[in-house]
């Protein structure tokens, strides 16, 4: 079918929990697939975004690659959506923000209990960590926010069906949770 709504998704400094929750729309995925086509997403394995209507971003920004991916999504998506607590306020990864980065790396790779072959990874392919984790609205303009850890499947469904059917998206009280 031509002219399907093109959707891209990604997880930055997230746990993929928001993506799992999205998949919890279960058989409604078939209804969605009739009008939506997935572009770059863990669901398709397409590596780069082309022109899309909706971009769903899970997770905050914790390293240089996250910044590039986020900008690629902003440049290619008409509507960019912050999905979940981490995209909105940095979430649990941002709890490292008051600990110096070096201390975090030392704890994880050198001094932590049970560490074997202590060495801080330095492969050139690894993206450099930022000093702090940031919510995505500090980097690019965000059009909509879906709070929750994760947002429930019904939040995804309500939001996407509102958009697809041409309504201004809104979330009733019972769908708004930060936990």
């Amino acid at each position: 079918m031509a002219n399907k709504i093109r959707v891209a998704t990604t997880s930055l400094a997230g746990c993929f929990g928001c993506h799992m929750s999205f998949l919890d729309i279960d058989e409604r995925m078939l209804q969605l697939a009739e009008v939506v086509e997935f572009d770059r997403s863990p669901i398709t394995d397409i590596e780069h975004c082309t022109n899309c209507d909706i971009g769903l971003i899970e997770g905050g920004v914790c390293n240089s690659e996250n910044v590039h991916v986020l900008r690629e999504f902003r440049n290619n998506c008409k509507i960019l959506v912050a999905v979940g607590a981490c995209a909105i306020n940095g979430g649990l990864p941002a709890m490292r923000n008051h600990i110096p980065l070096e201390e975090c790396l030392n704890e994880a790779y050198l001094d932590g209990i049970g560490v074997e072959n202590p060495k801080i990874p330095s492969d050139i392919e690894l993206p450099l960590l930022l000093n702090q984790v940031h919510p995505i609205h500090e980097i690019v303009k965000i059009d909509y926010y879906l709070p929750g850890c994760p947002p429930s499947a019904d939040v995804f469904w309500k939001f996407l069906t509102d958009l697809i059917e041409g309504r201004e998206p809104s979330l009733p009280y019972e769908l708004v949770h930060y936990d």
């Binding site: 607590a85 008051h98 609205h137 926010y145 201004e168």
Partner: protein, 256 residues
């Protein structure tokens, strides 16, 4: 003939000595608030209860009700102001609801839900704050303190102990405890003190009780804070409430 004010066009009776908040609550009209609790001296610091009285913005919890006041409460502008104030409270502290045991019972969160706050709007401060877990039964997580002073007032007015105070100004403002060491373990606080239970956020907690009620079955998971606050105050609604300003169905587009 009793004296009256109007709130959003509705006639509300009041008695001398009542604040606008007292009169509104008694009549079943909810004005959002965090630093106010009916049984404590009003403080007027959170500014969530800002209402427009005869053209000027005032804190409903401290402003006396006077004959003939024409008050606006649920206007689009005031709701937007309150949402911005709540967003500022969130970004100035470290409010990570998914990892907070107060989630679902938290008034800060519940007010944000009530205002349909979906984002933080402002850059986050991620301030460096401590956790004081020194006491055997009570702990303070300073990351979540919004300086409402309810614990200060409760400790002074109800518990007769003066365990808490606010120190510093502006961004340096912080909660302190009344002990040379600065630690809760060296105070005479007790887990049954009102000061411990009055905290609207997860800043003051009784240890080993946080998950007795599962997430999803907590106070604000199914009830809005306006219903809870009015029920707790034993208010008598004077008339059918006008339809609330579409809270919950409000546009979720990023407000700019």
């Amino acid at each position: 003939m009793s004296k009256t004010i109007t709130i959003d066009g509705k006639i509300i009776p009041f008695e001398d000595g009542q604040t606008i908040m007292d009169a509104a609550m008694a009549a079943g009209v909810y004005i959002p608030h965090l630093c106010h609790q009916p049984e404590f001296t009003p403080h007027g610091s959170c500014k969530l209860c800002t209402v427009n009285v005869n053209g000027r913005n005032c804190s409903a919890c401290t402003f006396p009700a006077l004959e003939g006041q024409d008050i606006l409460n649920e206007t689009e502008e005031l709701i937007e102001d309150r949402k911005k104030i709540t967003q500022m409270l969130f970004v100035e502290g470290n409010h990570f609801c998914p990892s907070c045991e107060k989630t679902g019972n938290c008034q800060l969160q519940a007010v944000a839900y009530h205002l349909n706050m979906l984002d933080n709007h402002f850059p986050l401060f991620y301030p460096d704050r401590e956790v004081d877990a020194s006491h055997a039964e009570v702990m303070i997580d300073h990351n979540r303190c919004i300086f409402c002073t309810l614990c200060v007032r409760a400790s002074h007015e109800k518990d007769g102990k003066d365990v808490f105070a606010i120190s510093g100004r502006g961004i340096h403002k912080h909660l302190i405890v009344n002990a040379k060491s600065g630690l809760l373990k060296d105070t005479d606080i007790d887990a049954s003190d009102q000061a411990v239970h009055i905290c609207p956020t997860g800043a003051l907690l009784v240890k080993r009780t946080g998950y007795q009620v599962p997430i999803g079955e907590r106070i604000y998971d199914h009830k809005q804070i306006d219903q809870v606050a009015l029920a707790a105050s034993g208010s008598r609604p004077v008339a059918a409430l006008p339809p609330s300003m579409a809270v919950g169905t409000e546009n979720i587009k990023h407000g700019e």
